[in-house]
Amino acid sequence: MRRLKSFASIAGALALTLSLAACSSNQDSGAAGETAPAEVAAQEMDTSVCKGLTLNFIGIAGEEGDKELASFRSDLEMKLQVSNNADWGQLIGAIKVGQEFDLSTLPNAEAQRMIATGVVQEIDTSKLTNWNDVVQGLRNSSIIRNADGKVFGVPIAWGDGPIVYSTKRVPTPPTSITELLTPAWKGRFTMFDDPALPFYMLAQSLGFTKVPLLTFDELNQVKAKAKTLVKNASAFQTSYQDATDRMVAGDVDLTIGGWEAMTAWAGKKEVELGYSFLKEGKGGGWFDSIAIPSTAKHPECALAYINEMISPKTQGVVATNLMSGATNAKAVPLISAEANIYDYKLVESETPGIEFVSFTPPNSVPDGYATMDDWRKAWAQVKVG
């Protein structure tokens, strides 16, 4: 269950066209240390460490390279055991009690905590031949790093935050979150059990433009509105697939926690879904990373696998399958036309270290402003009405 929290989008700036060639030529010569051209560099990763092994993955469905890396695995006689689990608590709990996983999703929401508590281990990016091809905006993110700047997760997908709805029952999609507070929308939509998106969007609708920094008074006002929103919602979706299934079954008409990929999944079930953006949420985005848990049995193989995950070829297929953004800019020409819907200027930047706007408060807030803990407590109160 990937939730739209603490995402990545360049603050403000929305550029116009993809200048793919320009970025890839930027990255090409950036392969520091390696003098050989990109194709040869990929072969320098010693994939033989993986021969005959079985890797264990836990995390978001679709982000483990099950389909995309099938031939990579069969060439090496490798197997991949997948534990699809989007419940971060269970994921973290499983690793903490010693279950051996070689690969894990590193969700932004929990990344810092997972890094600080040693749930995931450091990744030696100098060994990843494709690392320098990862788009700068993500590669330089501090979310995947610890205080010393060491990297603990490798971004493998990114996207924005649309609402998804049934075109049959919603002829004109709403444009503002305030519409969902009205009786016309009672029991018609789902959302994630998470305060980030609702609080952020409601704060915007109330004019609190400094969000995610909110004063306690502002937070209380947001809470009041959120209570109405939650009461109006039909249910909490447990995953993107769950929301899709509910819309396919006709139980709900819309979700505010959406993903373009949902339109493809519903299409397979012969139901048409569309996506759009609420004005309070536009410009927000997310990215997911893959990491190596501390309990990994085959960390070297995991590293080789991750390297393969961010290769242009694999990223092309992943982005097509998931309808998400590719993290390796070289992959863009390999993405199918219908899945190529993202603006890559959002994640490429001349200036390193620019971070995406977060929906939730940072780890330390100035005095008088609410912390993430306050947000969580407020959310618990919102839910009991």
Binding site: N84, V97, E100, T238, Q241, D245, K268
Partner: protein
């Protein structure tokens, strides 16, 4: 004036009630079975055409076959282990004073009162602390703890209505203790024992939370199902459920058959 109702009316009412009752219990299962044959990946009505494609896909699905084998092993192992241990305990218990019995039965029910998530984590933590790796065996232990109370309570109540006088008579006639147990006590409580063991197997086969935390990489069928449910519901999952249902039902039928045979003898 009490009017004596005709027997047939009482029977009719009884049959109707039983009918509705069983219908309520089985409707979701029937729906599950029905949709497993749906040719479209949707899990909603109307169903346009039927197909075996989901089942055919399972035959090639190695992960499914592995999980299936493991669940079967776990279910049978749990049934046998908690059956024997629970039976022994019930036998021992019935000969103790009432007060002790009540306390013991209360204690035995405590694992049932425990939220599965809490117990699963506690158990996983425990194994981790004593340095035992996660596998089907660790899960087996967890499942035995979860199902033993059922065996204990069910067999215990069966023993309580067992007429020990018969046993006394047999002993007076010279039967050895074990022989007497085997030929007199056991046949009378066998239905209860077998029923409890079947229950244990059913619980184990379907159990997810404890398995998730203690099976490690030895994925059981419920774990596989849960993981795939996160991928979105398709009839493939129903097919998995149906397979589980069919196998456990067959085992149950077999066990019930052998029980009846024994008692009649």
């Amino acid at each position: 004036m009490k009017r004596k109702s005709p027997i047939s009316f009482k029977n009719l009412a009884g049959i109707l009630y039983v009918g509705f009752f069983l219908a309520f219990l089985f409707v979701p299962l029937i729906v599950m079975i029905l949709f497993s044959f749906n040719s479209s990946p949707r899990l909603s009505f109307p169903i346009h055409s039927l197909s075996l494609s989901w089942y055919r896909a399972l035959i090639d699905d190695e992960l499914f076959l592995d999980a299936f084998r493991r669940t079967l092993f776990l279910g049978l192992g749990t049934a046998i282990a908690s059956g024997i241990i629970g039976l022994l305990a019930a036998l021992g218990l019935v000969r103790l004073k009432l007060r002790v019995r009540t306390i013991a039965m209360g204690l035995a029910a405590v694992p049932l009162a425990f939220p599965a998530l809490l117990y699963a984590i506690a158990l996983a933590f425990f194994f981790n602390k004593i340095g035992v790796g996660f596998s089907l065996w660790t899960t087996l232990l967890g499942h035995v703890i979860l199902t033993m109370p059922f065996v204990f309570l069910i067999v215990g109540s069966a023993l309580e209505r067992f007429q020990f006088s018969m046993l006394e008579a047999a002993r007076d006639l010279g039967a050895g203790p074990f022989h007497a147990f085997r030929t007199i006590t056991l046949p009378h409580i066998l239905p209860a024992v077998v029923g409890a063991m079947l229950l244990a197997m059913a619980i184990s086969a379907d159990e997810f939370v404890v398995a998730f935390f203690t099976a490690g990489q030895a994925k059981t069928l419920p774990m596989l199902l849960y993981g795939r449910l996160n991928l979105g519901i398709t009839p493939a999952l129903n097919a998995v459920g149906v397979v589980l249902l069919v196998v456990t039902t067959l085992l149950a039928a077999l066990a019930a058959r052998s029980t009846r045979f024994q008692v009649e003898r």
